[in-house]
């Protein structure tokens, strides 16, 4: 059915006019009195009409709808060479509600041999629109081998899928809608709506008296209200001022306003407003308005992707979204849907066969509505925290902002799974009360600080306490890399081969108390290299080193790495008696992973307004936080941690070709278990503990490391490959004396040295160089005297 052009309005339609009645011959005084009453009445009516006109105009033109902010995940970029396997790609497509099909229609895909054929929807990104395309993506050996545009047969260098909607920011009780323009609405929907709800829409002036009469007759015969005679215009007015009272005054107002609307606006404007306004469902506190959102709410598809029977169902719902609720009253809904299809057939809107096929199909409504609540509440907490710096809460709820975040849904889901699986497994294996352990985890991209995943609860759908962002816990040995970095930044004084004393240490503090740090194994290890002290997380050697370097130097180092909290210069700080959150630890380790460049963790890339105008961009921000060469040394030591230190169990948990760097952290009485570490692509920090802060009998190595390992095994595709700064050289060292060794020296270790800092002397283990040995001992003694 073709839509007719709206007719031009004529001034004759002015509803404020009222006909003058002729008066019979009456006494003059009476006539005068009547005239006065009429004048007042007219003025009153005119005034009232003007008031209604104002009301309806401000509804229609003013801020028509308050729209919640939409929050999107990062879009998946597809290009040859990208690490991506079929499972990942199909999972991503499913998140975007792509369906398996012939991939001719947008939002569909199919697998064909080693290729995936998909028809993308396109998306208006801030930096340029991504057009809808039909693509063939060839996957081989866990990588994208080729991307071909099927229309042209040409290879595509880079394709962006549309970003997945991950959250809406609503007011507590509110209307929700996805605005559509009339030209985006399938013509079948418009013709069905008009056929069923208002056959004379393009002819009447707001009211359809024949429909009213028809409805009145039908209702009279039935003895109750079975039919409505409201035009779409009247329904729109009713939706604007949604109240359920059916008083005469209400009806009168509605009629006047409908006439006013028709007088002032074009038919298509009214229709578009109707399509976006009409109430079509309820999801808890959230009212589903408009066909755009209803299409997603019931079918998880875009309006232009709907089949005829789906369109018919939406039109059927106009009459009563609750009465015909397809989820709770499927039969009733189906009967009404079929009625809509019949009407369409009768009016020539659909062919008989199409209707027959459509009727044979099920309702196709998902059992559960897609939640208006985000599936990723922990990540959204971070987004809101960062948004709050630049936007008012009210604007977020009403201005329809589009917020593009850094969330990687695949990595988020992998993190959630690793946390849930491992905590349950640890509880089982160690006889810990089921459900007593909790966790917080953050994953970020090593190179740019983008936060890709946040888990704040072992049940990731719980929107309660967010341990990743808000649980401040003692970080234990996680602090140690900052101590060593502060030392190694002075290459004339300290190298990884520097011998440190791990013998008993007692310090009298300012308040007169004594502080005697102990090692986790309660042993003393004598003279150890700085490398071994960090690799095995020796407390006493580290405390001595930190005191030598100076507490303030260590604090400054931590702050340069991104810890912004005020830190007090107590010696116990050196062993991690400082309470920080997993997110804060992520910031600090980010700087190490990025080779000494500090980048604040970012969860948002861009914010656009409802019209697609860019409002803010959160640009990559880089600060040099440490000498890259010193950071390289720390990373090398943290890599050793994962090979032969407190994190050595990673060797059996991670593939051999995935070198990583990391550090365990354990606090007094095993209350907190930490692991922070990075590969070449991702950084992750995991905390495991109990909410009541009770001892749980787990160390960083037994509690947090397994979660971290599961996660990295799943997501990381690029092993640690730190850039070796100019002048850094790797040498064999004899850990017994910190001197240079040669191949064959027992226990010799490779260590990196900043230019000019390598020990000159040779260890006695190196055969046949007595002169060098003598020199080396002189040099060595000189170093420590």
């Amino acid at each position: 059915m073709a839509r007719r052009k709206p007719s031009k309005k004529s001034s004759a339609r002015r509803p404020a006019r009222s006909r003058r009645r002729s008066s019979s011959r009456k006494p003059l005084r009476l006539w005068r009195g009547l005239f006065l009453v009429m004048l007042v009445g007219l003025l009153g009516l005119g005034g009232y009409t003007a008031y209604l006109d104002y009301e309806i105009r401000s509804q229609f033109e003013g801020k028509r709808w308050s729209l919640p902010a939409r929050v999107f995940a990062r879009p998946l970029e597809i290009y040859p060479g990208r690490e991506l396997d079929r499972a990942q790609l199909t999972r991503e497509l499913e998140l975007l509600h792509y369906r398996r099909g012939d991939a001719i229609r947008s939002g569909e895909f199919r697998e064909q041999g080693g290729r995936l054929i998909l028809s993308t929807r396109g998306f208006p990104f801030a930096d340029g629109a991504e057009p809808p395309r039909r693509l063939s993506v060839e996957l081989r050996d866990g990588q994208v081998a080729a991307v071909t545009e099927l229309e042209t047969g040409r290879p595509a260098a880079l394709v962006r899928l549309e970003p997945a909607l991950i959250a809406n920011i609503y007011p507590r009780h509110g209307e929700d809608r996805v605005l559509v323009r009339l030209d985006e609405v399938p013509p079948l929907l418009v013709s069905a709506l008009i056929a069923v709800e208002d056959r004379k829409f393009y002819e009447h002036h707001g009211l359809d008296f024949s429909a009213i009469a028809r409805a009145a007759w039908a209702n009279l015969r039935a003895g109750r209200t079975v039919q409505g005679g409201s035009t779409l215009t009247q329904q729109l007015v009713k939706n604007y001022f949604l109240t359920q009272d059916r008083t005469l005054r209400r009806k009168f107002n509605e009629a006047i306003m409908a006439l006013l609307l028709e007088w002032r606006y074009e038919k298509d404007e009214i229709l578009e407003a109707y399509l976006n306004e009409v109430y079509l469902g309820q999801d808890g506190d959230r009212a589903i308005h408009g066909f755009g959102l209803a299409s997603q709410f019931y079918f998880q598809r875009r309006l232009d992707e709907l089949h005829p029977e789906q369109i018919a169902l939406l039109v059927a719902l106009v009459r009563g979204p609750s009465f015909y609720d397809p989820r709770r009253r499927a039969e009733r809904a189906q009967a009404r849907r079929d009625l809509v299809l019949d009407i369409l057939e009768a009016q020539g809107g659909l062919e008989r066969e199409v209707v027959a096929r459509a009727k044979a199909r099920p309702l196709g409504v998902g059992a559960r509505p897609p939640s208006g609540i985000t599936p990723f509440p922990a990540f959204l907490d971070l987004v809101r925290e960062q948004l709050r710096r630049d936007y008012r809460e009210q604007d977020l709820q009403t201005e329809g902002l589009l917020i593009f975040t850094t969330l990687d849904p695949s990595i988020q889901l992998a993190t959630e799974a690793a946390v849930a699986r491992r905590l349950a497994q640890i509880e089982r294996a160690r006889g810990i009360e089921a459900g007593s352990l909790q966790a917080g985890a953050v994953v970020s991209a090593v190179d740019n600080g983008e936060v890709l995943a946040v888990v704040g609860d072992r049940n990731p759908r719980n929107a309660g306490f967010n341990r990743a962002l808000n649980a401040r816990r003692p970080v234990g040995s996680l602090v140690k890399p900052a101590v060593y970095l502060a030392a190694l930044s002075r290459p004339r004084q300290y190298t990884l081969a520097t011998l440190l004393d791990d013998g008993p240490l007692t310090l009298t503090l300012d308040d007169g108390t004594e502080w005697s740090p102990r090692n986790y194994d309660r042993e003393y290890h004598g003279m150890v290299t700085a490398l071994d002290a960090l690799v095995h997380s020796y407390n006493i050697a580290t405390a001595r080193l930190g005191l030598e370097v100076g507490l303030n130097a260590v604090i400054q180092q931590m702050q340069r790495l991104g810890v912004s909290r005020n830190l007090r210069p107590y010696p116990s700080l050196l062993l991690g008696a400082v309470e920080l959150t997993p997110l804060e630890m992520t910031h600090m380790y980010q700087s190490l992973a990025a080779g000494g460049f500090e980048t604040p963790p970012r969860a948002i890339r861009e914010v656009m307004d409802a019209n697609g105008q860019l409002l803010s961009r959160y640009a990559l921000d880089l600060r040099q936080a440490a000498d890259p060469a010193a950071v390289y040394l720390v990373t090398a030591a943290l890599h050793e941690v994962t090979r032969r230190g407190t994190g050595a169990s990673l060797r059996s948990l991670l593939p051999e070709d995935l070198p990583v760097a990391g550090k365990t952290g354990t606090t007094d009485d095993n209350r907190d278990a930490w692991f922070a570490g990075y590969a070449g692509d991702y950084l992750s920090v995991v905390w495991v503990g109990r909410d009541d802060n009770a001892p749980m009998g787990l160390t960083g190595s037994s509690g947090a490391l397994p979660v971290w390992a599961d996660l990295m095994k799943d997501i990381s595709r690029r092993g640690l490959e730190p850039i070796r700064p100019d002048g850094v050289e790797w040498l064999l060292i004899d850990p017994a004396n910190g001197l240079r060794a040669v191949e064959g020296c027992e226990g010799a270790q490779w260590m990196p040295f900043i230019e000019g800092s390598a020990p000159a002397g040779m260890s006695p283990c190196a055969e046949g160089v007595p002169a060098a040995v003598r020199r080396s001992f002189r040099w060595f003694r000189g170093l420590f005297e």
Binding site: E77, A157, D621, Q624, T635, A636, S649, L732
Partner: protein
């Protein structure tokens, strides 16, 4: 500020001309003897004495990256920069960096964009990062030092700028 911004377009032009060459992989081959992999016996055998990261990384051109995608985005960023839209260019370069953060050309371009945006500290940090990835590409490093010099001038650090210029001249073989 005006005074310092003026030379930037010229710098951009220089870079656009010079930056099409791929980074040279001038890293020397491994000098130290590699270690034989030990058998994977028993629960946790002693790891190789020499960690994997101590070995020389594969040359730049053998790394699997989305190089076509990066080249396409670099071209796009250059067009945006020439069209006077540094914000868009920055967004495009960041997108490219998400694909390959080890390409020193991307960091260098981003440094130039930051200069255009009037952010000298950021420009210098990006150029330093580019230098860290340059793997001995002297021409690229010389350009980075020019950017650093420009950034320092913009920040009012004349002495630091001279020093950076000297480094650039040294690298490009010109007299200081």
């Amino acid at each position: 500020m005006q005074r310092f911004l003026r030379p930037v377009p010229a710098l951009v032009a220089v870079m656009l001309l010079a930056a099409c060459a791929p980074p040279q992989a001038t890293r020397p081959t491994a000098g130290e003897p590699g270690l034989v992999e030990e058998g994977v016996a028993a629960p946790l055998p002693a790891p190789d004495a020499r960690p994997a990261i101590a070995r020389d990384p594969a040359p730049a051109d053998s790394r699997a990256t989305g190089s076509d995608a990066v080249v396409a985005l670099m071209g796009e960023a250059d067009r945006q920069l020439v069209a006077g839209n540094p914000d868009a260019a920055a967004a495009t370069l960041e997108r490219a960096l998400r694909i390959d953060a080890r390409d020193p050309r991307l960091w260098q371009r981003l440094a130039v964009v930051r200069l255009q945006q009037g952010q000298p500290a950021q420009a210098e940090a990006m150029a330093v990062r580019s230098n860290g990835l340059a793997r001995g590409d002297r021409a690229l490093m010389a350009r980075n030092w020019r950017i650093i010099a420009e950034a320092r001038r913009m920040a009012g650090n004349a002495a630091g700028a001279r020093e950076a210029d000297a480094r650039a001249n040294q690298l490009s073989g010109e007299p200081g």
